[in-house]
């Protein structure tokens, strides 16, 4: 019923191409998160699905039916705006019931459904207030209430938590997930925050410059990024990328240089002497060498102690390499330390940033 298919979708504003041939499938009842840096087209994509923008080329199907020409209110889609967009002249109850009153639903029925929604969102005592009298979190709740009262097949969220403080954000994240489990609607959730994506999504769509960079389950994106962009975008702190040049290719290993320092890495199909590659490794997969064992020797430039863990920032010439260490560590800025890269967790990206498979 509410399976979302985007096929070869383009969006152009005049000469500017914002969405460049996107293919995405969101299964019925799935919680999909569109994530990417600002300007990647994720909000535009959401607006195409909502019907607030027209699709320049390609097809959007909902439950197998072509939706390109269907007006927004007939798509069975509700949207929660980043700005909430609560009607300021209406009370909370009127805001939530507005869509129903437009459909000429009888008043007692509207009241009943508004009360239901208010109960679900725990805001029965706010119903007679105006939006101006609500806190940010309460406004967010009303905005969600306005969406779910229509019992839509699909709910779209456009960066809904970006205006809330950190604690409320965690709370609302849990709330939205609870609602998803309760209602089973298909959800598309747009955010630039990869933490929200990792914690909430069943499926993440990473967008960059109007194209899909990678689609997958959160942990599969974390473990097997398809390219250097996804590798760095998903996960915090981000993955270290070490530029390296292949020197010689052997039977099982090849020898590469990171800066001036030689390092041996497993050979991959397509590696040849003189190739420029990037070695990707997450901070938790780097170990500080003891007794002189070391892949690379680097200087400590910054130490962040968080109690349960410590982050070392090392100067690698091309930028910083971040190392995560359990607990505390005795080191000081200016020290030279040797680090060891866990080879089984290393990712290799070719000159174009594509992941090179084993």
């Amino acid at each position: 019923m509410s399976r979302i298919e985007l096929e070869g979708v383009w969006k152009r504003f005049g000469d500017v191409e914002v969405i460049k041939g996107v293919d995405i499938v969101v299964e019925q009842g799935e919680f999909a998160v569109f994530v990417g840096p600002s300007g990647c087209g994720k909000s535009t994509l959401l607006r195409l699905v909502a019907g607030l923008e027209s699709i320049s080329e390609g097809e959007f199907r909902l439950g197998g039916k072509r939706m390109n020409e269907v007006s927004p209110d007939r798509r069975g889609i509700a949207m929660v705006f980043q700005s909430y967009a609560l009607y300021p002249h209406m009370t909370v109850a009127d805001n939530i019931g507005f869509a129903l009153s437009l459909k000429k639903v009888p008043k007692p029925e509207i009241r009943k459904r508004v009360m239901e929604v208010a109960a679900i969102l725990r805001m029965e005592d706010l119903l007679s207030r105006k939006p101006a009298e609500l806190s940010g979190g309460q406004r967010q709740r009303v905005a969600i209430g306005r969406a779910i009262v229509k019992r839509p097949q699909v709910i779209l969220f456009d960066e809904p938590l970006s205006n809330l403080d950190a604690m409320l954000r965690v709370q609302m994240r849990a709330e939205i997930q609870r609602l998803h489990q309760e209602f089973g609607s298909t959800i598309i959730y747009v955010t630039h925050d990869q933490v929200e994506a990792l914690t909430m999504a069943q499926k993440i769509v990473v967008l960059k410059d109007g194209i899909v960079s990678q689609v997958g389950a959160p942990m599969s994106l974390y473990r097997e990024p398809a390219n250097a962009f996804v590798a760095q975008f998903i996960g915090s702190p981000r993955m270290n990328l070490l530029p390296a040049r292949i020197q010689t290719v052997g039977a099982g290993d090849c020898l590469a240089r990171v800066g001036e320092q030689p390092i041996s890495i497993p050979a991959r199909a397509g590696f040849a002497g003189g190739d420029d590659i990037q070695i990707g490794i997450r901070p938790e997969h780097i170990r500080v060498g003891v007794d002189g064992e070391s892949d690379l020797d680097l200087e400590v430039t910054l130490i962040e102690r968080l109690g349960s863990e410590t982050y070392l920032h090392l100067d690698a010439g091309f930028g910083a390499v971040v190392v995560r260490i359990e607990g505390d560590m005795h080191a000081s800025v200016g020290d030279d330390i040797g680090i060891l890269l866990a080879r089984e967790h290393c990712h290799y990206f070719d000159g174009a940033g594509r992941s090179v498979a084993a």
Binding site: A50, G51, L52, P72, D73, I77, A78, M79, F81, Q82, S83, Y84, A85, L86, Y87, P88, H89, F98, A99, L102, K103, K130, P131, A132, E133, L134, G136, R139, R146, K150, N163
Partner: protein, 304 residues
């Protein structure tokens, strides 16, 4: 630093001086109005401010009973009210359209609109009169062709004529006020996020429903401001009624006041001041009415 008794005293003295000067200026500004108000109730008002020996409303009864004060007032209210209504409708819709469009001609159009406002109205008299005269010939030709009865034709002509008719005066007054009103509404709509409309669209509202149930309530303070400026400015307009009406039946308050002042025999200050008071009242009422909307601010619908 500690404030010494001396400093407080000199501070108080400074305050006193400031209030004294302010009081004097206020009084100076208020005196003409005061004179008008008092003289209008004076049986024998003179040129100077004085407390009347006999308080009377005879000036007002004269205005409304023996002179055509009622007609002038009705004409003014009718013409200016209709013009304001037209201004509100067109400024509301036009301001909204201009605010939302992304077309290349947006900026040129806006400046062209304000240019109309920059040209001094007397400079427009000749071309506007020419246009109105042409339209007038056309509409009167139509009336004469359609209506046989001369008294009926005269009645219709009084209403629909572009020169010496209600319609012409209403349109001219509205046209004069429209540029500023469109600018006010455009600026006002710029400040209303498009999110509200999009939310309404997703809620299933038609264009008309969005307009009536979402945009109009949000635009009320802007409409109040635009309407107030239009009403007060049109109410005070003297030139256009002078140019486009000649029949005594169409005379408006400012013309009545002006012509009463020009009467050869004697200047009747009681009558003139009563007329001036009546002429001032609607503007004051309009202001106090619109103030409620002007100060009503909407907030909290979007992130703040």
């Amino acid at each position: 630093m500690k404030v010494t008794a001396n400093q407080t005293v000199s501070g108080q003295r400074g305050n006193l001086r400031a209030y004294g000067i302010l009081l004097f200026i206020s009084f100076y500004c208020a005196v003409p109005f005061l004179w008008v108000l008092i003289a209008s109730f004076d049986a024998k008002p003179g040129q100077f401010l004085r407390w009347p020996e006999d308080l009377t409303v005879s000036n007002y009864t004269k205005l409304f009973v023996s002179e055509s004060g009622m007609l002038w007032t009705l004409n003014s209210v009718l013409v200016v009210g209709a013009a304001t209504l037209i201004v509100l409708v067109f400024a509301g819709l036009g301001g909204y359209a201009i605010s939302r469009t992304r077309a290349w001609w947006k900026a040129p159009l806006l400046y062209a609109i304000i240019l109309v406002r920059i040209v001094p109205p007397p400079a427009l008299i000749v071309p506007v009169y020419k246009v109105m005269l042409t339209l007038n010939d056309w509409v009167n030709g139509l009336i004469n062709a359609l209506v046989a009865d001369p008294s009926q034709a005269l009645f219709l002509s009084r209403i629909f004529s572009f020169v010496d008719g209600y319609l012409g005066l209403v349109l001219v007054l509205a046209a004069m006020q429209l540029p500023l009103a469109i600018w006010i509404m455009k600026t006002f709509f710029d400040a209303i996020p498009v999110d509200y409309e999009e939310a309404a669209v997703l809620d299933g509202a038609s264009t008309l429903q969005t307009l009536r149930r979402v945009l109009l309530p949000l635009a009320l303070p802007g409409l109040a401001a635009a309407g107030l400026f239009a009403f007060i400015s049109a109410w005070g307009d003297f030139l256009m009624p002078l140019m486009f009406t000649s029949s005594p039946e169409l005379q408006t308050l400012p013309l009545g006041l002006f012509r009463a002042f020009l009467r050869i025999d004697r200047i009747d200050y009681g009558f003139l001041t009563a007329l001036a008071v009546i002429y001032t009242l609607p503007a004051v009422i309009a202001f106090s009415f619109a103030r409620k909307f002007l100060t009503r601010t909407f907030s909290g619908g979007v992130k703040g």
